[in-house]
């Protein structure tokens, strides 16, 4: 980092700024109040000559730049200079575009601009240039947990990119849940054209290729396989994970990794929960998984029914068995793979005996995409009977089985006789316990709550990763026990940095999807390892080199930071001081917001860098009728919304002063109390949606902030201020009309309740 700071200010007069504002006044403010010795004006700072001017200053030693002009979201490429600190005063979107160009508004508009320049100068002085901590080096080793098709694919793809892999397989051989596949659902769609309207070259069941895949894994020099092994302990962080790999014999080896992929696949649904279908009452009723094993054993020979060895001449498949149902013991979701799986299995029977009656009772036949629909037609062409029917019961009869069902097309209660019934049952993710179930135990306030949490934890499955993390041993779960990313745009978003889930642990899926998924997870693992080596943050603040640092002497070991970190990044040392694990950190600042004693900060984002902006704002006296509203806005959604509102010509009150924050979770209550005591009349916090469908890109930041703010009421009453002076809003990036309206409403409220008495 530069030994001493050299501050330079730049005032862009383009985009109508000079027409709307007294730029000389701004310059004077920057120099006199902002204490920036040198402030330059430029007619279009983003143009090549403007950018060159800045570059020259940097070459001449400038380390800290104040850019007053357009929003920090604009002209990012033009103003990206390495190894300097930059603060930006948003005069264009934030001021002149947000205010009407009329003489009577001129004064307040100028005041806005003045304040934003003051704020940018103040912030700048408290910004440091982050530099890598070097906490971890490049470790190219990737740990893959799970020896199934997903894990093997992840291992092979990672190795193919030149990264060594350790594959931990909890069985004596590779293959996992798909090991017993006789054939697989085709991966491809029909290739050729359609002569005379007849389908040709429809995809048929394919060789599963699992043996070949296992062979490739074992032969790959970059892949080390640990058989009969599990993770007994995983500690560290991206770039320096340490995993204890323990086998059934009890022997443990410790290996170090850059990143981890969890590919523990799924568990078969327990069909004993389906007595209505006579499962368990007769061996002739079996699950799709069991039939697969039967078919593999038969290996092309006629399939016989278990009860008496009779060659199966008629078989019925019951789709959605114990699935897509709210009934107790059933799976509420659709397992996605079962429709094509049943078509494939029906074709097993057809391959042996084209006259075999194969009926598939389905509700909705789900064969998406190109390959899926082709495979459906393939089944029909081979004379598999598809009937939209709801099965109610399976009973034994003299000759075999009777399936009772409602034929929804013929609209009648009917039945069919068959030798064998196959229940298309679903997948259950093979995951460890939800970490928050564990956290609930320590966090419980009363003994009863603690006990309840404990009981919940007891029924939880055993851990897969055994993470040595403050917030629990495994990856947080989303819904129905799956580890899927919550974000549609970011399927590999993870809440444990450097650990990526792949395959059916994320969401139910067939083998092809699991393999595709493994490739993506491998990509992210490699990326995480590389980023850690550069001490750079991963998604969403990609490349951010700053990380939390804290004043140990000030820390009260209250654990708020270790408990509230949405990414479980922070551990506690033996003296219960926080251990931040830089490369696990996503730089949201939730820990900073959590800290009651304000000892946590980032080099480029700190209690001070924001507090000083708040203080820098000029607060007119009580009788000026010019209230000041502090707006703390999420930089990803609320702040862009305000920018775009201005772009769309929507007015915002001239009394608002907007400070972008990384996440509402980073908001320190001290900012609130300080601004109240320094005379702000209202405070508006704008964060992201925080319910089940939360939009907060730091997962819980927005929710945590709301929770903290709920307690701020007391502070207000102490200062005997009206509660409506502080509001928290959920704002989406699309709220172009709403976001400014919320600020204008605050201004109106202040008109009603009056100015703050705390003006000095």
């Amino acid at each position: 980092m530069a030994a001493e700071k050299k501050l330079v200010g730049y005032l862009c007069t383009g985009c109508g700024i000079s027409e709307r504002l007294n730029v000389n006044q701004l310059q004077t403010i920057a120099v006199r109040e902002g204490k920036i010795p040198e402030v330059k004006q430029h007619a279009r700072l983003c143009a090549p000559d403007g950018v060159q001017m800045i570059a020259d200053d940097i070459a001449a030693g400038a380390t800290h730049l104040m850019l007053a002009g357009c929003s920090r979201r604009s002209k990012v490429e033009a103003f990206s200079f390495p190894n300097v600190a930059i603060s930006r005063a948003n005069l264009r979107e934030g001021v002149i575009w947000a205010r009407p160009n009329t003489p009577d508004n001129q004064e307040t508009t100028q005041e806005m601009a003045n304040d934003y320049v003051r704020m940018a100068c103040a912030e700048l002085r408290y910004l440091n240039i982050p530099s890598p901590s070097g906490e971890q080096k490049l470790n190219k080793n990737i740990l893959v947990v799970g020896g199934g098709v997903t894990g093997m694919t992840a291992a092979l793809e990672t190795a193919a990119a030149g990264y060594p892999v350790h594959l931990v397989c909890d069985e004596a051989e590779l293959g996992g849940v798909w090991k017993n596949l006789y054939k697989r659902v085709p991966f491809r769609a029909a290739a050729s054209a359609v002569p005379n309207g007849y389908d040709v070259d429809l995809p048929q069941p394919e060789e599963p290729g699992i043996t070949e895949m296992s062979a490739q894994v074992l032969a790959n020099p970059l892949i080390t396989v640990h058989f009969n092994a599990q993770l007994s302990k995983t500690s560290g962080a991206p770039g320096r994970f340490a995993a204890d790999i323990t086998n059934t014999a009890g022997a443990t080896v410790t290996e170090n990794f850059g990143a981890i992929i969890q590919a523990s696949d799924f568990k078969e649904y327990d069909a004993n929960q389906l007595p209505e279908f006579a499962y368990g009452k007769t061996p002739d009723v079996m699950t799709n998984f069991e039939l697969e094993r039967l078919a593999k054993a038969a290996n092309g020979a006629p399939l016989k029914r278990p009860s008496d060895g009779k060659i199966v001449e008629s078989v019925a498949f019951i789709q959605c068995a114990g699935q897509r149902s709210e009934q107790n013991g059933h799976l509420p979701y659709c397992s996605g793979f079962c429709c094509t799986e049943s078509i494939k299995q029906a074709l097993y029977f057809k391959a042996q005996n084209p006259d075999c009656d194969t009926t598939i009772l389905f509700d909705d036949l789900r064969t998406p995409g190109a390959a899926g629909e082709d495979f459906y037609r393939c089944g029909q062409q081979e004379m598999v009977t598809f009937s939209k029917g709801k099965a109610s019961a399976v009973v034994k009869n003299s000759a075999g089985l009777t399936v009772k069902f409602q034929d929804l097309i013929l609209n009648e209660a009917t039945e069919l006789n068959c030798d064998l019934v196959v229940l298309a049952t679903g997948q259950i993710p093979n995951n460890g316990p939800d970490p928050y179930a564990q956290l609930a135990v320590d966090e419980a306030e009363t003994e009863e709550e603690k006990e309840a949490a404990r009981i919940k934890l007891e029924v939880a499955p055993p851990s897969i990763l055994n993470l040595d993390y403050r917030q629990g041993t495994d990856l947080p779960q989303l819904k129905h026990g799956f580890l899927d990313s919550h974000f549609i745009c970011f399927p590999y978003e993870t809440r444990r940095t450097g650990i990526y889930a792949a395959g059916p642990v994320r969401r139910p899926m067939d083998m092809k999807q699991a393999m595709d998924d493994a490739v993506g997870a491998a990509m992210k693992a490699i990326q995480a390892a590389e980023s850690a080596a550069n001490s750079a943050a991963v998604h969403p603040r990609v490349g951010d080199l700053s990380y939390p640092v804290f004043r140990k002497e000030g820390c009260t070991q209250c654990k708020r930071c270790t408990v509230e970190c949405p990414f479980g990044a922070i551990n506690e040392d033996e003296n219960r001081y926080p251990v931040f694990n830089e490369s696990r950190c996503r730089r949201c600042g939730t820990c900073m917001g959590a800290c009651p004693v304000r000892v946590i900060s980032f080099e480029n984002y700190s209690i001070d860098s924001v507090n000083q902006q708040i203080k820098a704002v000029d607060i007119p006296d009580e009788f000026s009728e010019k209230p000041r509203i502090l707006v703390l806005a999420c930089e990803n959604d609320a702040y862009p919304a305000l920018d775009m509102a201005a772009q769309a010509g929507i007015e915002t009150t001239p009394f608002a002063r907007v400070v972008p924050v990384r996440c509402l979770g980073s908001v320190s209550l001290s900012w609130i109390t300080d601004s109240l005591s320094s005379g702000y009349d209202g405070i508006v916090l704008m964060g992201c949606r925080r319910d089940e469908d939360y939009q907060c890109h730091f997962v819980r930041g927005s929710a945590i902030a709301a929770e903290r703010l709920s307690k701020v009421g007391d502070t207000l009453t102490q200062l005997n201020l009206e509660p409506e002076r502080i509001v928290v809003h959920e704002v989406a990036i699309t709220d172009l009309e709403r976001a400014p309206r919320l600020l204008n409403e605050m201004a109106q409220n202040i008109e009603k309740i009056g100015m703050s008495p705390f003006k000095f």
């Binding site: 383009g14 990012v76 991966f187 659709c334 390959a371 629909e373 399927p491 990509m523 991963v538 775009m644």
Partner: protein
């Protein structure tokens, strides 16, 4: 002639939609040199034209903001807009791509102040809104467009309007002398992410998209519902601006149909259920929605959304492929068909009919610059024959946004595998 530094260790990404952006960013954020080529004047592709995503009902622009920030900040990523790959030769590890750059007539000095748009008069159908509104001959494709630079419509070049635009610009950002350029660049691997296009609804004759104003497509409906769209989010019907409270959503409009698209487009069922929630949000109890389907495909976790939507008594699901649509005297589209669950005939008038149009590959079977393994539906199959060219997203199959991004992330690794092999070979 612009120059783009590229070597056999460069990854070329064709298509700047969600898949292309994802693939490009994942590779660049792993330290690889990436060139991203997009045909439109801005990045983001079709997701920029969506109002919400299923099943979360969140806003595409939210993730787009992050992806744009990632793009702006990444030193390894070069973005070419208004660019098209016209040729691709070579083999895995060493390709040469020919790229045609259409003139934007606006250079990087543009501050997006909008003075040019105010100055010009000629208006055109706004392709961003599928022609549901007009835009000027000088325009910002949409409010959040990246790059945030205006574009001049080629049609106004050589007219007085072009001169007006130039005169209006204070930053001499308008360059009427710009001409089409062709550049060649080397790369070791190619990610093909050209995405999809809505199937031409006019070809589905029984539904009369070309005859009835109040029969529209699902992509058009997204624009209609968007609070920042042409109607400010008011769900009104084209013929007379009347509020559309009773709406039919027809599934498999072009999909699963040998007369049109053979494949199932996967997203349409979910998209229609999502759009049904728009109508419920707008009209609450007054909303009346009929969803006509063959098989309801809310696969895996999406089932939760189906369960939620189905619980609303104003949304009905009818297992039927409607046979035809006719307009009654008041211009209400009347949907005719048979509910196959027990053979019930219906002739149901609606305010508006929304055709859940299928996804077809944006690039025609025969228009690929080099031979790739393409299936009957026109999607690129994952096959060794394709060498160092890897499909990402909807170029490979009909996928939803989440699966596209997932698939694109994988494609990035495949490309990196090639690049790393090349790099190892070089040392």
């Amino acid at each position: 002639m612009m120059a783009v530094a590229a070597t056999v260790e460069t990854i070329l990404v064709v298509g700047g939609g969600i898949s292309g952006m994802t693939a490009a960013l994942e590779a660049a954020e792993t330290g690889k040199q990436v060139v991203l080529v997009e045909q439109r004047p801005y990045l983001g592709g079709r997701v920029t034209q969506l109002y919400k995503y299923f099943p979360k009902l969140c806003f595409p622009t939210c993730g787009l903001e992050i992806n744009q920030r990632r793009t702006k900040q990444n030193p390894h990523l070069t973005v070419l807009t208004l660019a098209q790959v016209t040729g691709l030769t070579g083999a895995v590890g060493d390709y040469t791509a020919t790229i045609k750059l259409a003139p934007r007539y606006v250079n990087e000095r543009c501050t997006a102040c909008g003075d040019c748009a105010t100055a010009v008069e000629t208006e055109f159908d706004d392709e961003y809104n599928y022609g549901l509104s007009k835009r000027k001959g000088a325009y910002l494709p949409y409010r959040m467009a990246h790059p945030a630079r205006y574009v001049l419509d080629p049609a106004i070049i050589g007219t007085a309007d072009a001169e007006k635009a130039k005169a209006a610009c204070k930053y001499d950002a308008i360059d009427l002398e710009m001409r089409e350029e062709t550049l060649e660049l080397r790369c070791g691997a190619v990610i093909w992410a050209t995405g999809w296009q809505p199937y031409d609804a006019a070809k589905i004759q029984p539904y009369g998209y070309d005859r009835f104003a109040n029969v529209i497509t699902s992509v058009e409906f997204e624009r209609l519902a968007d609070v920042n769209g042409p109607t400010g989010g008011k769900i009104v019907r084209p013929s007379d601006g009347k509020e559309a409270k009773k709406i039919a959503f027809i599934q498999c409009a072009g999909s699963r149909d040998r007369n049109h698209l053979l494949h199932c487009s996967r997203i349409c069922c979910m998209a229609s259920m999502k759009q049904a929630t728009y109508v419920i949000d707008a009209f609450a109890e007054q909303a009346e929605i009929n969803i006509y389907y063959i098989d309801l495909r809310s696969i895996d976790r999406f089932e939760d959304f189906y369960t939620k939507v189905r619980a609303n008594k104003n949304i009905k699901f009818i297992k039927s492929k409607p046979s035809s649509i006719v307009a009654d005297k008041d211009g209400n589209p009347v949907v005719h068909g048979v509910d196959t669950e027990g053979y019930n005939r219906y002739a149901e008038p609606h305010d508006l009919v929304v055709l859940a149009v299928g996804m077809e590959p944006a690039v025609n079977q025969n228009d690929f610059p080099l031979a790739l393994k393409i299936n009957r539906e026109g999607f690129i199959e994952a096959a060794p024959e394709n060498g160092g060219v890897f499909a990402a997203g909807c170029a490979a199959d009909a996928l939803d946004v989440n699966r596209s991004a997932q698939h694109a992330t994988g494609a990035a690794l495949r490309a990196i595998q090639v690049i790393n092999r090349v790099a190892r070979a070089e040392v």
